[in-house]
């Protein structure tokens, strides 16, 4: 593995631990007595420290070390937990997060003031002995090591002829050949990174002849905590031992001189009592090793069970999705080609193929699914920080963390959700005094929930804040010159609510650092619609606001309706479709210059796709008075699209039309390849009409 890959692994795992720390700290903030959280945090911080020092990221290691001390003090009741300590801990987490992010320029971040803060808390809390305890422990550990060295060990190594030659050469040149047994800490996270550091250090002092296990196995982490290195050197054993021990997470280092013929030290260059290796020791150490290897095997089998997931590059999953799409297109083509023949065996085989492609599609889609928690988990912290800085009391309630969504979509909806939540905190929830005046509880509530509908995911952000006043929204729209007075007057209250999605509209009366810059809701809407979803707003003044985002489960393959307009075929995404109706030409009325029909007491605007798509006039219309209307939903409003014919429901694979020649062409979400190999365009309802 390359160093950069280790870094990625390190960063990914650090993120998980930071998330854990953040979660626990948030809980701790609410219940200061919840010592279980301190324990969880302590463990996370400890692991983080271990990983960081393994990788040689000293700043992170130092900071987590200080945090550990502080938390230990809290755990032992030597330090009383208060809000200022929690704030400092939050600050530490943020600093570590930025350290992890910019791991290569770790030194650029100054951690000294945080360390000082932590230190002063620890000292004032009267936990001075704490550090002492630790150093005592360290001393004890060193003593342990000393004893091991005295016992010494015997290396049972089979050398190849080549290696024997190397050892002989080294001996002849006056170099000593040394076998080193290195034992890593049980808790060592990145064993191969650690081992490569050890090898690097040793090669600074000598030439490595052999490692057990082999270098490859070390790289692949095919070893437990222990490995052996044979090397030739002209340096003193002790120097090397000292240097190797400087690397952290090394539990033990034992060196012994190797001699080929008589297994006795050939070079008495070291005068310490490390002139060990008498054969008498062999037996005892062998048994020791045997027991240890016995343990190791049992440990390995338990570790095997743990490897149940594999990290896969998202590009690879995208490729798989594309291939599955091609497979489906080809399947449909074969189905069409064979529909003319009536061969039973062929039909059976095709039915099997159908089932298999469906299964593989589901599997690939599922493998791209990631739980909502990935983005939801950072919101409690964000809402906490925001509400604190604005002097509000807010309780964030998250539901549906386990709901899964395609990773591509999940990546994209993070920012819109951040925006919606910020809006709720900023403009929705009122200050505590104001809430009391209106008879609400001082603490505001925001509910963020995800739920799975049949073919889509529904995400709701709901607050019990001050809500929106449609008249005020109308007023703002006119004031900002977005609409004329007469235009807004004509709007229903529901439509007025949708004004917040107009570009350049920002309902904030005071502009704060987080929102109210007028780039808000229209960007949210644009992003959601780009993903093939829709946004809805409901708001009642004084009671609160609810924003609903409806999103498709996946974006690569969608359910759709194929419709004929003139002699062209178009794809209408099923997420947009409400239902189809059949009407007569005479049902169409003209209301305020716009065509519409009356359907179940509702006025439904009508759009003739012929006109929008400039298709050649079709003749069918004259023969047949019946018109087919596909009712679609667009920004919460229903619109009827007149088409010539419906071909049917079909799954289609979305291909993008990202050629820059089509940069200014709107109305299409992409294209797909039909069963006959022709291309059909996918309508993007929101930009088409």
């Amino acid at each position: 593995m390359e160093m950069s890959e280790y870094k990625q692994v390190f960063q990914a795992e650090s993120d998980e631990h930071l998330q854990q720390l953040n979660d626990s700290l948030l809980k701790l903030e609410q219940y200061h007595e919840d010592l279980e959280q301190i324990n969880i945090m302590f463990r996370s911080a400890h692991t983080l420290k271990g990983m960081a020092s393994t990788m040689g990221f000293s700043s992170i290691a130092e900071l987590t070390h200080e945090m550990e001390n502080l938390m230990d003090g809290i755990r032992n009741k030597q330090i009383k937990l208060d809000d200022s300590i929690i704030d400092i801990l939050f600050e530490c987490l943020d600093t570590i997060e930025s350290l992890v992010e910019t791991i290569d320029s770790e030194d650029d971040v100054d951690i000294s003031h945080l360390k000082n803060n932590l230190n002063s808390i620890i000292e004032n809390g009267g936990s001075g002995q704490e550090t002492q305890n630790e150093s005592e422990q360290v001393e004890k550990e060193t003593e342990d090591e000393e004893t091991t060295i005295k016992t010494g060990f015997e290396l049972n190594i089979d050398f190849s002829d080549e290696e024997i030659q190397q050892i002989q050469d080294a001996n002849q040149n006056g170099l000593s050949v040394i076998g080193a047994k290195i034992t890593l800490d049980d808790s060592c996270m990145l064993k191969s990174a650690r081992s490569s550091l050890v090898l690097k250090k040793i090669s600074e002092y000598g030439t490595i002849i052999k490692t057990i296990p082999s270098m490859d196995d070390l790289d692949e982490e095919n070893f437990e905590t222990e490995f052996n290195v044979v090397f030739s050197t002209e340096n003193n054993q002790d120097t090397i031992k000292e240097e190797v021990q400087k690397i952290s997470e090394i539990q033990n280092v034992t060196l012994s001189v190797i001699s080929l013929e008589n297994k006795e030290p050939s070079e008495p260059s070291c005068e310490t009592d490390n002139k060990n290796e008498p054969k008498t020791e062999t037996q005892s150490s062998n048994t020791q090793e045997q027991t240890q290897s016995g343990q190791d095997t049992s440990k390995r089998s338990s570790e095997m069970k743990n490897v149940q997931s594999v990290r896969i590059d998202i590009d690879r999953l995208d490729n798989m999705m594309n291939l599955v799409g091609e497979l489906i297109i080809n399947k449909i083509r074969i189905n069409q080609l064979t529909s003319d023949y009536d061969i039973k065996d062929l039909d059976d085989t095709l039915a099997d193929l159908d089932r298999l492609t469906n299964d593989i599609q589901t599997e690939v889609m599922e493998s791209r699914m990631v739980p909502m928690d990935h983005i939801f988990s950072r919101f409690p912290r964000m809402v906490r920080d925001l509400s604190k800085s604005e002097g509000k009391k807010i309780d964030l309630n998250i539901e549906g963390k386990d709901i899964e969504l395609d990773r591509t979509i999940l990546d994209e909806i993070g920012d819109p959700l951040v925006h919606l939540l910020r809006n709720s905190v900023d403009h929705g929830i009122e200050e505590p005094e104001k809430r009391r005046e209106t008879g609400k509880s001082e603490t505001g509530h925001i509910r963020l929930s995800a739920s799975r509908q049949r073919n889509s995911i529904l995400i709701e952000v709901e607050d019990d804040g001050k809500g929106m006043n449609p008249d005020k929204l109308r007023e703002t729209a006119v004031k900002k010159g977005l609409m004329s007075q007469s235009e807004v007057d004509r709007m229903s209250n529901e439509e007025a609510m949708n004004l917040i999605f107009t570009p350049g509209f920002s309902g904030a009366e005071k502009v704060t650092d987080v929102s109210g810059r007028g780039v808000g809701m229209d960007a949210v809407k644009a992003k959601i619609e780009e993903l093939g979803g829709s946004v809805k707003t409901e708001s009642v003044e004084v009671e609160g606001t609810k924003i609903q985002l409806q999103l498709p489960l996946t974006i690569a393959i969608i359910q759709s309706i194929l419709a004929k307009v003139s002699d062209e075929t178009y794809v209408i995404p099923l997420t947009n479709v409400v239902r189809n109706v059949s009407i007569k030409e005479s049902d169409i009325k003209t209301i305020k210059g716009e065509e519409a029909i009356l359907l179940r007491g509702e006025v439904l605007p009508i759009v003739r796709l012929h006109d929008v798509l400039n298709t050649s006039k079709n003749n069918q219309q004259q023969d047949n008075d019946e018109l087919i209307v596909v009712i679609v939903e667009r920004m919460g409003k229903k619109v009827g699209l007149i088409v010539d014919d419906l071909i049917g429901k079909q799954e289609v694979m979305i291909k993008t039309l990202d050629n820059k020649l089509l940069k200014n062409t709107k109305g299409f979400a992409g294209a797909t390849i039909l069963g006959n190999g022709n291309v059909a365009l996918i309508l993007d309802i929101s930009t088409l009409i």
């Binding site: 929008v612 020649l661 200014n664 294209a671 390849i673 365009l681």
Partner: protein, 167 residues
């Protein structure tokens, strides 16, 4: 690109491989290095509201490729496609585009020294920016197109603006 050493003179004259095609009454050439493939015309799916010179999209082995009418790009009179019509698929500026031409005649090589600036009579017909020059063969003149210029974004914007103004 092939290099041929001329004996004695010691100078290097680049040999340019071209795909020669016909459009209207003229014969054109594009650098073969830009050409990915040449295919027969197939059913092109029209894109409503796209610029006039965009004919539509086609499916080439699962990839969706935008097809343009080269005659419209160059401001020439356009012809109906027939059995001789071909789509030359080229890669320009990182994107793949198909160009509809009346027919493809041959692949030939021409020495760079035989390429001259376009004479006025051609430059008056076609925007001079689109021309790389004229290749002189025994008794033919080959108009060499600068596809980057024709199919770049900037140009597209200009063309689409132009057509909007006309509307």
């Amino acid at each position: 690109m092939e290099y041929e050493q001329e004996k004695g003179a010691g100078t290097v004259d680049k040999n340019l491989q071209l795909v020669a095609f016909n459009l209207g009454d003229e014969e054109f050439g594009v650098d073969i290095m830009q050409v990915q493939e040449i295919i027969r015309t197939q059913e092109v799916t029209r894109i409503p509201q796209a610029p006039d010179f965009v004919k539509g999209v086609i499916n080439i082995r699962g990839k969706i490729i935008v097809v343009v009418s080269l005659d419209k790009c160059l401001g020439l009179d356009s012809r109906e496609t027939d059995e001789h019509s071909r789509i030359i698929v080229v890669e320009v500026g990182g994107s793949v585009v198909g160009m509809v031409v009346d027919s493809v005649s041959e692949i030939l090589s021409i020495q760079e020294s035989n390429i001259e600036p376009a004479p006025d009579i051609i430059a008056s017909k076609i925007n001079a920016d689109y021309l790389k020059g004229v290749g002189k063969l025994e008794n033919r003149l080959l108009i060499l197109l600068d596809l980057e210029k024709i199919l770049t974004e900037e140009q597209v914007n200009q063309i689409s603006q132009l057509s909007e103004q006309q509307e």
